[in-house]
Structures are given as structure tokens and as C-alpha cells.
Amino acid sequence: MLYFSKIDIYLMFMLCLGIESTAHTFGVGIVSDKGEILANSKDVYKPPHGSGIVPHDAKVHHENCKERVLEDALKSAGVDLSDIDLIAFSQGPGLPPCLWVGTEFAKKISNENNIPLIGVNHPVAHIEIAKLTTGAKDPVVIYVSGGNTQILAFAGGRYRVFGETEDISIGNALDTFARKVGLPYPGGPKIEKLAKSGKYVELPYVVKGMDLSFSGIVTAAEKLYRDGVKLENICFSLQETCFSMLVEVTERAVAHTGKKEVVLTGGVAANKRLIEMLEIMCKERGCSFSSVPMEYSGDNGVMISWTGILAYKSGQRTKNFDPISRWRTDEVEISWMK
């Protein structure tokens, strides 16, 4: 086997520095165009107990930590800004105050060091990092996070949406319920833990064709809590119901597209029960399943940097560098796939 030192890699390959700042996370990642991940630094804003994200506070958090996170990334990769060939930044969708921090920071580094700059769509980056780290080539993708719940697959030059939530995301549903019953942020892992000793109680199951809806389930779960139903049982049923809905729509997308791989990505991708359910479904369907590694499941700079490389090398150039706070996944031309 050939051995390359880090220095060799930098001389031979292109390096991209990626900046993520759509919501809670301020992240900087450094990746080579061969897919080697050299740095994954981040700092995550934590909202006050009992509240969701406060956009202005998150913005202040990002402003305060950005230089430190950048330095940390450069240090752990062992490079200077002069070694960087491309800067990528998360251009949207996201919370405008947060998006602006990353955008301005990326512009500044790009100008001062004369490095080309490219804007990246955040959900597309979640898909691409999942493909890079799992080795999947053309999967049905389940993207679940605090802000998004979508089932996607590549068709006709885009990642098409084969199913999505009509109201709130699955991550938001779990967090909202956790907050209402006094569990600290982030609620997902706490619910997962409590669910282990729970039993099933009835909650609404809302799948309409390919669309999902979670807000009614949260309301019903809160009502059960007020009525004195054991929290463990509600957590168990909440997970089972929401995840079954998600797996059902995924299975339909697999049946419809005939694709042979399924990949899970995004912040909620860390949930063990969801992973287990998807594994069973895929086994029954005869397709492969993989989940993005934990360190790349939440928002991070690595995914932005890798997607920036893919877009740049396939000829894409960003003309307008302002944040795009509403930007649908299926609007992005995936020029690096055939």
C-alpha cells in the first residue's frame, strides 16, 4: 500500500475549507478533493433551558467563536490558509442572522487570502457527506434533523423530494415535546433513553400519500402527559409512531424508484431505534442500509467543504454570495452526478 504523509496530500490534492452556520452549529471543516477529512471543528450554541433556538443569541455565539473554531480546524489539519484552494460556505436554507455570520466570515477569508468562494446548499451537503462516509453511490436518502424531514433520491439531475413533512420536522417534534415536559435540550437523546422502558399507548399516525405530519402527534402526546400517562410510555410511543411513519414513506420511495441503497443523514440520524427500524425494512426489501457516522450526522463544516469541492470541480460558480434563507433541495442542480 502506498503511504502518503499529510504534506504529500496537500501538495497533490486540492484542499477546501468549509464553513457551516445555518442554525445552532458554527463549524469549520477541511477536506481534500480525494475525500480525506483533515479537520472537523465546531462549537454548538445551547439555548437556555426550556426554550428553543433564539436566533440573535445563536448569532452572537457564532460571532464569538468563529476565529477560535477556524484556528482549531487549521491547527488540527496542520495547514495555513495559504494551503487552502477553495472556501465553501453554507448559503442556506437557515436562520438569516446565523447565515450572515458564516457568509461574512467566508467572504472575509476569501478576500484577504485571494481564495475562490462557493456557496453550498445545506441539505445537499448532508446528502453528500453521507454518500462520502458510507460509500453509497445512488441511494434513497432520509434526511432528518432539527429543521428538516425529507426523503430524497436522485432523478433527472436533482435530488427529488419523494416525501416530506407538511408541518414541523421530526427533530423539532421530539425537541418540542421534550421541552413541554421539562426535559433539557437536546430532547432527542433523553426521549430515546426514557423510551427503553416504555409501553405502547395510542397516538395519531399521520401519513397521507408521501407526506408526513408531526405537529398533531406532539399535541396528542402532551395531552397524554397532562392526563398522567407515564412519561416512559409516551416517549416510547412517540418514537415508535414518528419513526414508523418515516420508515413507511422511505419504503414507498424505495419501491417506487427501485434504488438498492438507503442512507440516513442529519442530526436525528444518531437515534439507535430509528437505525434499527431502517435496517429491518431494508433487509426485508433486499437493499443495503447505512447511516452517516455520528461525528458527521449533526451540522458540520466537513459536509459543506466536501460539497463545495464537488460543485466547484463540476464547474459550478456562485455569482451572488448573499444567504438564501429559503432554498429547496430540489432547486439545486447536481452537476456532479450522471
Partner: protein
Amino acid sequence: MKLVGRGAEAILYVENGVLVKERISKGYRIKELDEKLRSRRTKLESRIMIRARRYGVNVPKVMKTEDYKIFMEFIEGKRLKEFFNETTSENRKKIAKEVGRMIGLLHSSGIIHGDLTTSNMILRDGELYFIDFGLAFHSTSVEDRAVDLHLLEQAYLSTHHEYFEELWSSTIIGYKETFENWGKVLSRLEEIKKRGRYSKR
């Protein structure tokens, strides 16, 4: 027992000349949820098929329903998906208009099909049949009706691109004949096309 189809949630097989649609158990979900969903959906689907038939829509005749199985008439014919590519322009228009008439009848009876594609329409001895009511539900909302039509329009566009104009305009003519409130639905359809996932914002 002869397996004739497998979807995401059910298998279809023929037994003594009768088509059986059986919702199969999913290993990923807990027993309580699995049984609840399968039995509820089986009941709903058979109820909807019986209602549709009463309103004059050609659908397979339901013989009986059992736990997770619907026993129904096996319609052997040609799917419109193939038929449209093999016939004359005149025949296409005639059948596409019939498609519209049937959708109009369905909507008048308060049913949304939920999966209107030319794979779910069969021609037998010149008679058009709608099949697969697995995603069907009861609704009289303008939005649901418009989305129902929108799915068909998308299916025509993707599967029958070269005949799209004649198919779609004939279908709309038929729809107007059997569904009184077509005006509202068609204008909502235009709105839907401008928003959300269906086109750029």
C-alpha cells in the same frame, strides 16, 4: 396461488380466480402499530371501493374482506400506460375523456384516489377500470381534489410526454361532465403548480 404484484405495503395474488390483496406485516414496527395500521387500512380501502362502485365508478368488485386481506374481482386487461402508446390518437382521446369522467364521479362521491397514474387504470373489453385504492381517502376539499388531478397531470407528463396535450385536455373535458364543482378545483390546480415542491418558489 399466483403472485401478481408486490407494492410497498401489500402483496397481490390470485387464488381460485379471485385477486387477493394482502397487507403484509412489517418487521420494523411494533406489533400493536403494525396490526392497527394493516387492519384499519384494509377496512378503509374496501369501504372506499364499495362506495366508488355504488357511485358508478368501474372498480374491481369486492367479494369479502378478512383481517388484512381484500378479496376482489381480478381485472385482466391492458394498462393505460401501455394502451396509450399503442393506439390511435382518436382512441387515446376517447379513453382519456373517460378517465376524466371517472375521476369526476369519484370526486362527486367524496373520494380521493391518491395515486392516479396510468399504471392504476386498466382497459378490459373497452371498459375502463380504476384499481389500487391503497392511498385513497374520504375528502371533499378543493385542495385534495386538485392534488389528485395534479398527480395525474404529472403522470401524463412523465409517462406520456408526447401525447400530453391531447390526453390532458380530453381528461379535463370528461371531468367537467361528471363533476359539478370543477371550476374551483381547476383554479386551485393552477395555484398548486406554482407553489411548494411542485415548482420553483
